[in-house]
């Protein structure tokens, strides 16, 4: 209980304030939980690890939850993870039951968040204890598995794998660091750029560019759509909400939260996959699948408990293996880096107070989200009317501060922000996948160390197959994820052909 000394009024204010700001970010279409975390990252520099994490975890939980507001009221997902919330939430709002739909979503989000938090609390330490035994060989295979799972669950497997390896390649630019056992020599640097690229691209400007600037360039390309007017919001006066709507939905709630948590644990797979899987399962097991998509509360429950189930799940691989579960948790790695702490199997054991404080912050964030959104949903609904021409310039300015201050004032980091902002905007059009790219970028340097050191130690490629039974299991998982992906894409292609013909 030593962690209780870390729970100060500032800590609690940061969790609650972060949740509040996160809900606002999530509720504005075009702004996401990831952007909220990216923009607020530099603030953590002065706050210290626990307080910084309190803010970021609040932003994360709030951002994922806030996405349900425009999804229900406008039929526009506030965050990618709210796509399936539009399917039944929007029809409910169109029937004048907007407030009821919002409250169903809020309650489901809360249950999903709490269940995933329990999974995080019990599962992450066990996985970390297990992973402590891993040698460089198993660690390399875990990264390879993370990349193949991400690619397998990408919309296009080949492009997903390519994006992941491209991320690794970009991460290798710069010096092969002596502190990692390297020879201190430069590679992949165009002549004349050694001064700037000696240490490669810094992680945080890359992340802020990909998730902050790129999102705004996307909106600029669309002409920065006008904010919604109050008249567009159909919250539905007098639409009564009762907890009886959850009668008979216990299994759906638990199953969807479990699916969300499981998807979160898979590295690099975002909230949209969690909610889509939870939604399609709820529809499959429903006695009335024909009502889905027409304002069925069960669909809304599945979607929102599924995407909030992701929040705790995505932290499992991050805190036990050092592998981010999704884009937002990739940014949390940046916050750890700022404080000079490496996340991996030793993190929980070496930092029990920080670990417990993070769990407590997640719990408070979920409760704060529930209380704020349930009590003041009518006011949060108005957030969708905030004009973007006011918000975006301020966010752009915050991105600059984030990039510049991260390495104590290096202007090249600001240009890195622009380079990767433009790259992130263009990459989507080229069919590249940002999540695998960023996970590859984060894990690339570690993958190199594990691979090269394994070969230096054992001098034989077969070591990657024969080192231990764990290596064998990991190869089965790697090949299984690829085979599963090929099978699914072929089935999908056949179904498309059948529809077309």
């Amino acid at each position: 209980m030593e962690f209780l000394s870390l729970i100060t009024p500032l800590f609690l204010s940061l969790v609650i304030g972060g949740t509040f700001v996160g809900i606002i970010f999530g509720a504005i279409p075009g702004m996401t939980a990831t952007m909220a975390v990216a923009v607020c990252l530099p603030l953590t520099y002065s706050l210290g690890l626990e307080n910084g994490m309190a803010l970021l975890l609040g932003l994360y939980v709030g951002g994922i939850s806030g996405g349900l507001v425009p999804a229900i009221l406008l039929g526009i997902p506030g965050t990618p993870s709210s796509i399936t919330t539009t399917f039944d939430g929007y029809p409910l709002a169109q029937r004048g039951e907007g407030e009821k739909a919002l409250r169903i979503g809020i309650c489901s989000s809360f249950v999903g968040g709490v269940i995933s938090l329990a999974a995080l609390y019990f599962f992450a330490p066990t996985l970390a204890d297990f992973a402590i035994e891993f040698s460089y060989v198993e660690k390399f295979l875990i990264i390879l598995f993370a990349l193949t799972v991400m690619a397998a669950l990408s919309s296009d497997m080949l492009m997903g794998i390519f994006s992941g390896f491209l991320g690794i390649f970009v991460a290798l630019i710069g010096v092969y660091d002596i502190s990692d056992g390297g020879n201190g020599k430069l590679r992949l640097i165009p002549p004349g750029t050694e001064y700037w690229l000696d240490s490669g691209f810094s992680l945080l400007p890359v992340l802020i560019g990909l998730f902050g600037l790129a999102a705004i360039l996307d909106q600029a390309e669309l002409g920065v759509p006008k904010g919604q007017s109050r008249e567009d919001i159909k919250i539905g006066k007098g639409s009564s909400f009762s907890f009886s709507v959850f009668k008979g939905q216990f299994v759906n709630l638990i199953r969807s939260s479990g699916i969300g948590t499981f998807v979160g644990i898979l590295p690099g797979v975002g909230g949209s996959a969690a909610s889509i899987l939870a939604y399609s399962n709820a529809k499959t097991f429903s006695k009335h699948p024909e009502t889905f998509g027409k304002g069925e509360p069960a669909g809304l429950i599945a979607s929102e408990s599924g995407n909030n189930g992701l929040t705790g799940g995505a932290l499992v691989p991050l805190l036990s293996l050092g592998i981010p579960g999704d884009s937002t948790t990739a940014l949390l790695i940046g916050a750890f880096t700022l404080q000079g702490i490496q996340v991996g199997p030793l993190f929980i054991g070496n930092n029990p107070e920080t670990w417990n404080a993070m769990i407590f912050a997640m719990l408070v964030a979920n409760i704060a989200m529930f209380v704020m959104m349930y009590g003041a949903i009518r006011y949060f609904a108005l957030v969708v009317t905030v004009p973007k021409h006011v918000l975006f310039p301020i966010i752009l300015m915050m991105c600059v501060i984030g990039a510049y201050t991260i390495n104590y004032g290096i202007m090249f980091d600001v240009w890195t922000l622009l380079i990767f902002g433009v790259f992130g905007w263009a990459a989507v059009k080229l069919g590249l996948e940002i999540a695998p790219f960023i996970i590859g970028f984060i894990l690339g340097p570690s993958a190199e160390v594990y691979f090269v050191k394994s070969l230096e130690s054992f001098g034989d490629l077969t070591i990657f197959f024969t080192k231990s039974w764990i290596a064998g299991v990991l190869w089965v998982l790697i090949l299984g994820s690829l085979a599963g992906s090929v099978y699914m894409s072929r089935r999908q292609a056949k179904a498309t052909d059948a529809d077309g013909g």
């Binding site: 530099p42 520099y45 002065s46 492009m159 794998i161 390519f162 390896f165 491209l166 690794i168 390649f169 290798l172 010096v175 092969y176 390297g182 020879n183 020599k185 430069l186 590679r187 992949l188 600037l213 705004i216 360039l217 600029a220 390309e221 669309l222 002409g223 920065v224 006008k226 973007k388 021409h389 006011v390 975006f392 310039p393 301020i394 752009l396 300015m397 915050m398 600059v400 501060i401 510049y404 201050t405 104590y408 004032g409 202007m411 600001v414 240009w415 622009l418 433009v422 059009k429 690339g444 993958a447 190199e448 691979f451 090269v452 070969l455 230096e456 001098g459 034989d460 490629l461 077969t462």
Partner: protein
Amino acid sequence: MGSLTQVTIDFEQSHLLFPTLIGGILLTLGLAIVVTRRRRIATAGAYWRGILSRMDRLRLLGTLALTVLYFSLMVPVGDLWPNTGLGFLICSIPYVLATGLLYMHEWPAKQVAIMLAIAVIGPGLVWWLFAEIFFLTLP
């Protein structure tokens, strides 16, 4: 078989081993993408024309131009008052105002006045918070 799988790493060249491997994988994947999507690539002209026709060029290119200008001026302006963060403050005010006006769809006097107030208060508040309270380095 054993000799085929054995590897000796020259430490002096070890910095090139992994990049070469990843580069090779990227080339192979790139070729696979080109081969499997050759029809789509052949008709990509229409795809890009569609993107260009739907694109709001003024706002997109305007954002990029203003951002490049903003980044380019921050350091020279900041060098006039070293270690004060004034380069950031002085450049951010017109940048926030210009991008705000660029993103507005109409320019009624009241909205422009509000945007002007935000452009002054926003960067001012952020500069005060980061430079004066958190003591973070700003250009």
